[in-house]
Structure formats: structure tokens, C-alpha cells
């Protein structure tokens, strides 16, 4: 029940609401205080005051006050509405929905509360609730078309297309005259219905109509009409492969007759000389000499024109060995032919036409993993640089070659040279920074990035990168920090990525209402469906895997410190190491801050003002030390893990990480679930082998102490290795089977150690990795890491030997330490 106020106070109260809406918070507070002076227990006023102080950033106080308001006036819909708004602000959507529902019970006719509730239900995917809310809104204002569309959308989102159509048809029938066909909102609703033929001329989204029409005609077997429809689409856009497929299929050419099929493409290549797809796509289905001829024409054309993406456009053909070899020999022929033509024509600087273009193609060819010969790749790059020394592209490729060698130092150096050749191009700047991060030079990379970021806020370039949601940078910086041993800083970055995904999920909220007003319903539904699996994105998975690994490391090192799994001596070493790392982190952060301040000082003072006045919250944990000292690292790891398991279950790295988290939490069923999923994806994966043996060993120890039901499930579900298997023999058989693969050898050695074999023997076995003569040096790096972890005296000898096997790999041949800086 609203508590009565005098008329003067009533008008004051209306002023409070107005002040709040217009964001005049101070005035609003003052007016509220005036009311409260006389009516200290006036619930609605208390609630509004809570809302205002929440807007001023004092959330805790606001909640306390909102509760006070509710105690004063349990029956006020305003109090409940405000309570919901506060929860909504805190992103506690479940509680917000509950509060809104209370408010609505007290004031069933309130459109505001109804609307706030509806959008939250859409956000929370409570579609049944959303349908209810939308039905109520329609009933109260059925003359608004938007309300009809909204209810149809609600049914559509809930998966009930029939009901959605019914709503729309009911609305259309209720209209006295058909709506004007320039009315966009209506045309969208129609297409949502997919009553295509009848509405085509009323729809303003011509492309969507044409595409659907072509598709339906083809499905209905109306071939001539479908051919015409696809031709109309190709006339609009001849770079969309789907249209060619549709056309040739409708023409009945998708069978074996490749020459007739090619003729269709030729027709478009001829009528549209600037079209790339028509010339390139036939290379996908042509074979033998036909392929060779077409490839020669295409390659010659592109290299003559100097298209830098020629290789990128063809490399997908490399899975076919014949096509790979043909392209290689064609590129060689091209260069030779050009060389024999005229010797005196020197190529223009910065242009990649003719001979340099051919050399550029070959350099990329030998740098590509399916045709890799890094020495040759370097040879062609250097020949190219001899002709056109100032070309960014040759430098870029040279840097990539060094990256593939494992020489991150040289790669970063040369990418930076490339950057210097075109200082105005952010693309090459980005690459230079990325390569510096790969070489663990985080401070240098941030400085490079700052050449293109907005640096005028107190947080400097890093603040801009976080603000602009630069996920790639945050992830790479996090991974570099892991390699530098700065786990807190790494977690800081991974959490930043995690938060960006939260923001992305939250971002859709406003569109539940906005899109209805705009009438762009198809785009809205697409967005909702995409947001539903937002964290499926590899951007999320990569950062999350980084965070999980870091938290596992923290958990494991705690075990070491507590003496569970190592000597006290080791623990002391760890403490010393930790202190060293912390000191280094602090130093780096201070340096970064200093540089950011210097940068800021250099800015135009007029411009700086605008940004500094922004309310930038000060970060109270810039180094992530609090994150790294979390005493429940496995709980945090699980938080990062769950979306991977939910949205990317076929990602083997996610399942492998899941096993590691769950086995440490002694959640054996969940660990087994991950293990079985990983086995289904790749039974030969070396890490999955390790996990299989580890699981069997641990389960054999623990099975008796587990609840009977759990033990039963594990017995039936864990079939990879039998309980009575001799694990040592099992591991030996595995090694025998995979003795040529370095990664498998490393895994087998880890298991030998686990099963109690003498460390010396294991150390010796790791050296076998070096004699495998493989280009892939990463398993050796892992082996080196293991030796360090075991505190083996052989670690340094191993590194030296690996450095001889892979002389270019920076990880085995670190540059001499720079003189200590002040």
C-alpha cells in the first residue's frame, strides 16, 4: 500500500523520480531527504533514494536502504521494483526477476514493471515466462503491432514456430487494409514467416528474398527458375561461392562433367574480369591436366598483377599432393620464364609483381606446414629481398620463417624491421607486437602497441586495449607472462578476457527492446542464437585454457610448498623463486606505469582533459597478485572450465584440462567423463595415454573408499584399461608402438616415473627425444621442462644438446643475459 503523503510532498516525490531519470542525482537526493525529514519511514522515497545512491556507485548502501524501504512498506510495488533494479544492476538476474514478479503482483497493470520483467526473461532465456509477459503486454495494448511481433518472436525463440506464425496471421487478418509495403517492420515480420512468394514484392530486403527464392525453387525442383534465380544472385555478387554451387547444381552439373561445370565459371570470369572467385573456384574440382592448365593461368595472372594473397588463396589445395606439387612446379616455371625474358627490367620498390611475386609465392610455399622446407623458404625470401629490399611482405614472411624455426628472437627482430618500413600501417604494427609477445618481451610489445592506441587515459595503452576488447593482445600477453613466470599477471589478462565475454553476453540486453522498435527481427533472432553459445568461440577457449593451466600450477606448487610432494629443500627454493618472480613483476609494472605516465604527458593537453575526466576506476590489483594467491585455485579453474566443456566438448584440450581439474578435486566421475570424451576424440593422443594410466592407478587405490554407486559407474564406464592390467607393461607397449614420436616418448617417460621407476633411468630416456631427428622441437622443450621440474642435474646438459640439435630455437639457445638494469 502506498503510504500517503501531503500534496506538497507528493509533488516532491514526482520531482525525485524526474531527477533520477534526468540523472540529476544530487538534486534528487536533496528532494528525497526533504520528504524523509517529515516521513522517515516512507518506503517509496527510501527506495528512490536507494536507486539514486546506487547510481552514484554505492551499491552496498543502496541495498541496505532498499531493504529498509521494503521493511517500511512491504506492499509497495515501487519498493519491489527498485529492489529488482538493484539486483539487475548487480547482474543477479534471478533475484531481479523474483523482485519484479512481486512488484507486478502488487501492481498488475504497470507497463514499466512488465517490460523490465519481460526483457530480463528474454536475457535469461526464460522463454515460457517471456511468452507470458508478452501475452500480457499484448492484451493491454493490442493496437500496437510491435506487441504482436514481440509475442511471435517469443514463441519463435521458444522453438514454437507454429504458434509464432499463428500470432502473425491473426494480426494480419485483423488489419482492415494490407500494410504499406514500404513499412519495414512489417516486411520483416512477413519474412520471418517465410511466406516468401506471396510477400516478395513487399519486402525491402531484396537480397534475402532472392536468396530464399533461389533456395526454395531448387528444393522444389523447378530447375529453370532456380537457374535464373541463381544467375540473378551472381549478377549482384559474383564472389559468393554458394551461388555458383546453387547454379551448377540447378543446371545438373554437379556430377562428373567438370568441363561443363568449368564453362559456367568461365562465363562469369569473362563477363566480369575483376572477379576472383570465377577464376579460382574451378581449381577446387579440376584434376590432372585440366587443373594444371587452369592453375597456370590463374597463377600467372595473379603474379603478374602482384596479388600478395595468391598463396593464401591457393593453400587449401595443398591437401591434395598432386595439386601441391603442380603449384610448386608452376611457380618455379613462372620465375624461370620471367628471368629469361628480359634481364634489365628492375622491379619497382614495394611492388610484388613478376619475379618478386613468384619468389614471394615460393617462400610462402616452403614455409607452409604441408610443404615445409625452411632453408629453401629463407633462400627465396633472401632472393626476393635482393630484388626489392624495402618490401614489408618479404620481411613479414622472413619473420614467420624464423618463427617456424623456433627462433622467436630473430622473428621478433625482423618483424620489427618490417614495421619500420611502413610506420603508418597498424597491421604490421600489430604483427610486430605479437612477435615481441611470442618472444616474451611484454614491455616492448606494449610500447609497440601504444603507437596506435589511445594513450590519454590514466591507464595508458593497456587501458585502451582492455576497453576496446583486444582479446588477442590480452591472451598473448597472458601466455607470455606464463612463460616469464609471472602467473599473477597472466591470470590478470585471462580474467580480463573472461570479463569481456561477460560484457558481450550482457551487451545483448538492450537489444531485446531495441530490435523490436527497429523491426529487424531476423538479425535479432540470429543474435540471440549466437549469444546462446557465445563462449564456444576459440577466443574464449584459448584464454580459459591458459587460466586453467595457471591455476593447476598454483594448486600443485602449494602441494610442493606444504611438503606433500617434495623435499623441504624444494619448498624453500620455491619460496625464493616466488619472491624473485614477485620482485620482477613489481619492477615491470612500475616501469610500465612510468612509461604510460610519460606517454600521457606527451599528449595534447586539450585532448587529455576529456579522457582523464572519465571516471576510471583504479585497479587495486594491477599485478594479479591477489588472483595468484587465491586459496581455492581449483574452484577458479572450474569456473573457466565449465563453458569449455559445455560449448566446445569436441575440443580435446578442453577435455584434457577438465580431467586435470577434476582428478585434483577427486571428482572421479567427472574426470572419467572428460577422459572418455578425450579418448573418443583422439585415442592416440599422448597426454590422454598419461591420463588413462593415471586414472587407473588412482582408481585402483581409491575405489574401495568411494560410495558404492560411484564405484559401480566407474567400473562399467572406465573400459580403456582393465583393473588388473600391468601398467608398466601397458606403458612399455605404448612406447614401443609410438617410439618414433617425440611427444609420445615424453609421455611414456612421465608415466614410467609415475609408476616408480628410478629418476636416473627416466632422465636418460628423455635424451632419446634428441635422437629422433624431427623438426618439431616442442616435445624436447617439454622434456627440458620436466628435467627442471624434477630438479635434475641433467637439465643443463639436455638444454645444450637440444641447442645443438635445433640451433635456431631460442628456447634452447637463450641470448646472453643483458647487464642488470637499475
Amino acid at each position: 500500500m502506498p503510504q500517503p503523503l501531503s500534496s506538497k510532498e507528493n509533488s516532491l516525490f514526482r520531482q525525485v523520480i524526474r531527477n533520477y531519470e534526468e540523472k540529476q542525482y544530487k538534486r534528487g537526493l536533496k528532494a528525497a531527504e526533504q520528504i524523509l525529514k517529515k516521513n522517515p519511514k516512507h518506503g517509496d522515497t527510501l527506495a528512490m533514494k536507494a536507486l539514486i545512491i546506487n547510481s552514484l556507485g554505492k551499491t552496498d548502501e543502496a541495498f541496505a536502504l532498499a531493504k529498509e524501504a521494503l521493511t517500511a512498506d512491504m506492499k509497495s510495488h515501487i519498493c519491489w521494483h527498485v529492489y529488482g533494479l538493484l539486483y539487475r544492476h548487480q547482474k543477479n538476474f534471478e533475484e531481479a526477476i523474483k523482485a519484479y514478479k512481486f512488484a507486478l503482483k502488487l501492481e498488475p497493470g504497470s507497463p514499466q514493471i512488465q517490460r523490465d520483467l519481460a526483457y530480463l526473461q528474454a536475457q535469461m532465456r526464460d522463454f515460457q515466462g517471456y511468452i507470458q509477459s508478452r501475452t500480457a503486454m499484448l492484451q493491454s495494448k493490442s493496437q500496437l503491432r510491435q506487441n504482436w511481433t514481440a509475442l511471435a518472436v517469443a514463441h519463435h525463440l521458444a522453438g514454437d514456430l507454429v504458434q509464432a506464425e499463428k500470432v502473425l496471421t491473426t494480426y494480419e487478418e485483423s488489419l482492415k487494409s494490407p500494410p504499406s509495403h514500404t513499412d519495414y517492420e512489417n516486411s520483416e515480420a512477413l519474412i520471418a514467416l517465410e511466406h516468401l512468394e506471396s510477400i516478395a514484392k513487399h519486402n525491402l530486403d531484396r537480397l534475402a528474398v532472392l536468396e530464399l527464392r533461389a533456395e526454395y525453387l531448387a528444393k522444389l525442383g523447378k530447375k529453370d527458375a532456380a537457374v535464373k534465380a541463381y544467375r540473378a544472385l551472381l549478377d549482384r555478387n559474383s564472389e559468393h561461392p554458394e551461388y555458383y554451387n546453387g547454379l551448377t547444381e540447378a543446371m545438373g552439373l554437379d556430377g562428373g562433367d567438370t568441363s561443363a561445370r568449368k564453362a559456367v565459371y568461365d562465363e562469369y570470369a569473362k563477363s566480369n574480369p575483376r572477379c576472383d572467385a570465377a577464376k579460382r573456384l574451378p581449381l577446387d574440382f579440376l584434376t590432372g591436366n585440366d587443373f594444371r592448365d587452369a592453375a597456370k593461368l590463374y597463377l600467372t595472372l595473379m603474379l603478374d598483377k602482384g596479388v600478395p594473397s595468391t598463396f593464401a588463396n591457393l593453400k587449401h589445395l595443398y591437401t591434395d599432393p598432386f595439386k601441391k606439387e603442380t603449384l610448386e612446379s608452376l611457380a618455379h616455371e613462372y620465375v624461370k620464364a620471367k628471368e629469361s625474358q628480359s634481364g634489365d627490367e628492375s622491379p619497382a620498390e614495394g611492388e610484388l609483381k613478376g619475379i618478386p611475386a613468384g619468389l614471394y609465392y615460393l617462400a610462402q610455399h616452403y614455409n607452409y606446414h604441408l610443404s615445409r622446407d625452411l632453408a629453401k623458404a629463407l633462400e627465396f625470401v633472401d632472393r626476393g629481398l635482393g630484388l626489392v629490399p624495402g618490401t614489408v611482405e618479404f620481411h613479414m614472411t622472413k619473420a614467420r620463417i624464423w618463427k617456424h624455426y623456433g627462433n622467436t628472437r630473430k622473428a621478433a627482430e625482423i618483424m620489427d624491421q618490417a614495421r619500420n618500413l611502413d610506420l603508418k600501417d597498424r597491421y604490421i604494427n600489430t604483427k610486430a607486437a605479437k612477435y615481441q609477445l611470442r618472444n616474451n618481451e611484454t614491455a616492448k610489445a606494449l610500447k609497440t602497441m601504444s603507437l596506435f592506441t589511445r594513450n590519454d587515459s590514466p591507464g595508458g595503452p593497456l587501458h585502451d586495449l582492455i576497453d576496446m576488447q583486444s582479446i588477442w593482445y590480452l591472451t598473448e600477453d597472458g601466455e607470455a607472462s606464463v612463460r616469464n613466470g609471472l602467473i599473477g599477471l597472466a591470470l590478470k589478462r585471462f580474467h580480463a578476457v573472461y570479463n569481456i565475454f561477460d560484457v558481450w553476453q550482457e551487451d545483448q540486453f538492450d537489444f531485446h527492446s531495441f530490435s523490436l522498435r527497429k523491426g529487424q527481427i531476423r538479425a535479432y533472432v540470429d543474435m540471440v542464437r549466437w549469444e546462446d553459445k557465445l563462449r564456444e568461440h576459440p577466443f574464449y577457449t584459448r584464454a580459459a585454457l591458459g587460466a586453467i593451466a595457471a591455476y593447476l600450477g598454483i594448486h600443485d606448487s602449494k602441494l610442493v610448498v606444504n611438503g606433500v610432494n617434495g623435499s623441504t629443500n624444494g619448498a624453500a627454493d620455491d619460496e625464493a623463486e616466488k619472491k624473485k618472480v614477485l620482485k620482477k613483476a613489481k619492477k615491470e609494472a612500475q616501469k610500465a606505469e612510468r612509461e604510460a605516465a610519460e606517454q600521457a604527458a606527451k599528449q595534447d593537453p586539450n585532448k587529455a582533459k576529456a579522457a582523464t575526466s572519465e571516471n576510471v576506476k583504479k585497479d587495486d590489483d594491477p599485478l594479479g597478485l591477489k588472483l595468484a594467491s587465491n586459496d581455492q585455485p581449483l574452484v577458479e579453474a572450474t569456473k573457466f572450465l565449465l563453458p569449455i566443456l559445455q560449448f566446445s566438448p569436441k575440443n580435446i584440450d578442453g577435455q584434457v584440462a577438465g580431467f586435470e581439474v577434476y582428478i585434483r578435486r577427486e571428482k572421479y566421475l567427472l574426470a572419467l567423463h572428460c577422459l572418455n570424451a578425450a579418448l573418443a576424440i583422439d585415442p592416440a593422443n599422448p597426454v590422454v595415454h598419461e591420463q588413462t594410466v593415471r586414472f587407473r592407478q588412482e582408481i585402483n587405490l581409491k575405489l574401495a573408499s568411494l560410495p558404492a554407486k560411484v564405484a559401480e559407474v566407474i567400473k562399467t564406464e572406465f573400459t580403456a584399461i582393465d583393473a588388473s592390467t600391468d601398467l608398466k607393461k601397458y606403458n612399455a607397449d605404448f612406447l614401443k608402438k609410438h617410439k618414433e614420436s617425440a611427444a609420445h616418448v615424453v609421455s611414456a617417460v612421465k608415466i614410467r616415473k609415475l609408476l616408480g621407476e628410478d629418476q636416473k633411468a627416466c632422465e636418460k630416456a628423455l635424451f632419446d627425444v634428441l635422437s629422433l631427428k624431427t623438426e618439431d622441437w616442442e616435445p624436447a622443450a617439454e622434456a627440458h621442462g620436466l628435467l627442471l621440474q624434477w630438479r635434475s642435474g641433467e637439465a643443463e646438459a639436455f638444454r645444450k644438446a637440444a641447442g645443438e640439435t635445433w640451433p635456431e630455437v631460442t628456447a634452447f639457445n637463450p641470448p646472453p643475459a643483458p647487464p642488470a638494469s637499475s
Binding site: 540523472k23 513487399h202 534475402a208 540470429d526
Partner: protein, 221 residues
Amino acid sequence: MDIRRLEPRDIPLIQHANLENLPENYFMKYYLYHALSWPQLSYVAVDVSRPKKTPYDYPKIVGYVLAKMEEEPTDGVQHGHITSLSVMRTHRRLGIAEKLMRQSQLAMVETFGAQYVSLHVRVSNKAAIHLYTKTLGFDQDKTESSYYADGEDAYSMRLDLSTIREQIRDAADAEGVDEGEPVGEAGSKTLPVREKDLKKVKVGRGLGVQALVEKDESKHS
């Protein structure tokens, strides 16, 4: 290469391409605002030849045009605006930027009855200026001093879209459209009607998409 309309799921990699290529960056909501207000106007170029590393890889975006209609045109003339256009350095010289622009311009006329399209470009960006004026036929309207955050001036450019309008009309005539008016013509006469109550801030409506609308001219292409 595949040139097609932008879909919401492309946005993270469009944002990524933008961050790699250009100094003018936007948070995701701003891309969503474009994709959900004028889904017909923004296009992407996708590198379809990239082998997938995981089953969850999204199409790799190597070029995009992010476009909009001016919500409240000061001159009262319905027109489009290019918010951002870029193509990865590795995929230049294929005419991608031009092709993206032409798709967007066609849709501006067809769907929203745009009379012209406008854009801003850095005065130092010779390649882009060449594309706009020589290849696409934009006229240099005026220079806006210190338009960009780093103090650089911008050329303000515009392209009259009447040629596209005529082409659409001719095509419709040839097709023998039996009822109604040619789409482009019709679109140009009557503006789509929308509710205009966006300005009122109701209790609890937080900072909505409207905030983006007001901001967007200060976020530069």
C-alpha cells in the same frame, strides 16, 4: 574468398580485424548496433581456404565494411554512412574493399532508399582516397580539421547513389514487375516509420543503445 553479408557471429573476428588494421576501434556493442539496426548494409570478406584448427573455428574475416543509415540526417535527406572499412594487408589488391562497398551501396538504396552515402577518411590515407574517388566515384565534400583522436584531419566524402537507383528501376522494368512500384523508388519516397520515443529514459532503463546512437558520430571511421 567469400563476400557475403555480416552475421552476428562474425562480430568477434570483425572486431579483431578492425583492431589489427585500424586505429579507430569500437567495443562489441557498437558492432551489434550496426548489425541489428541495418543488417543489410554490412558485408564481410571471408578466407574460406583456411584449414580449421578446431571444430569451433569461426570464418576468418579478412575484410569488412561496417555501414549504417544516418538516423537523424541534418540535411533531411535519407543517406547511408560508412562507419569502418578495412582489408587485411595480406589480402590487398584483390579489389575486396571495392566489392564490399558496392554491395553495401546497393543495399542502402534497395532497403532504405538512400540518396547518397558519406564517409570520412584520413587526409594522409592515399590508398583509401584513391579507392573512394577514382574507383568508386566519391566527391570530396569538405575537410574536417582534427577529426581523428590523434589530431589528423579528415576529408568528408560523399557519393550520389542515383545511378544505382536507376539501375534498380531499369532492372525492375525489364523483369516486368507487375504490381507496386520499383523497390528503390518506393523506398526513396517514404521513409520507414519508426517509433520515436527513444529519448525518454524510464526508471531502470539504464544506458541503452540510444547512448551509442548519440556517440556514433564521434567514433570515427
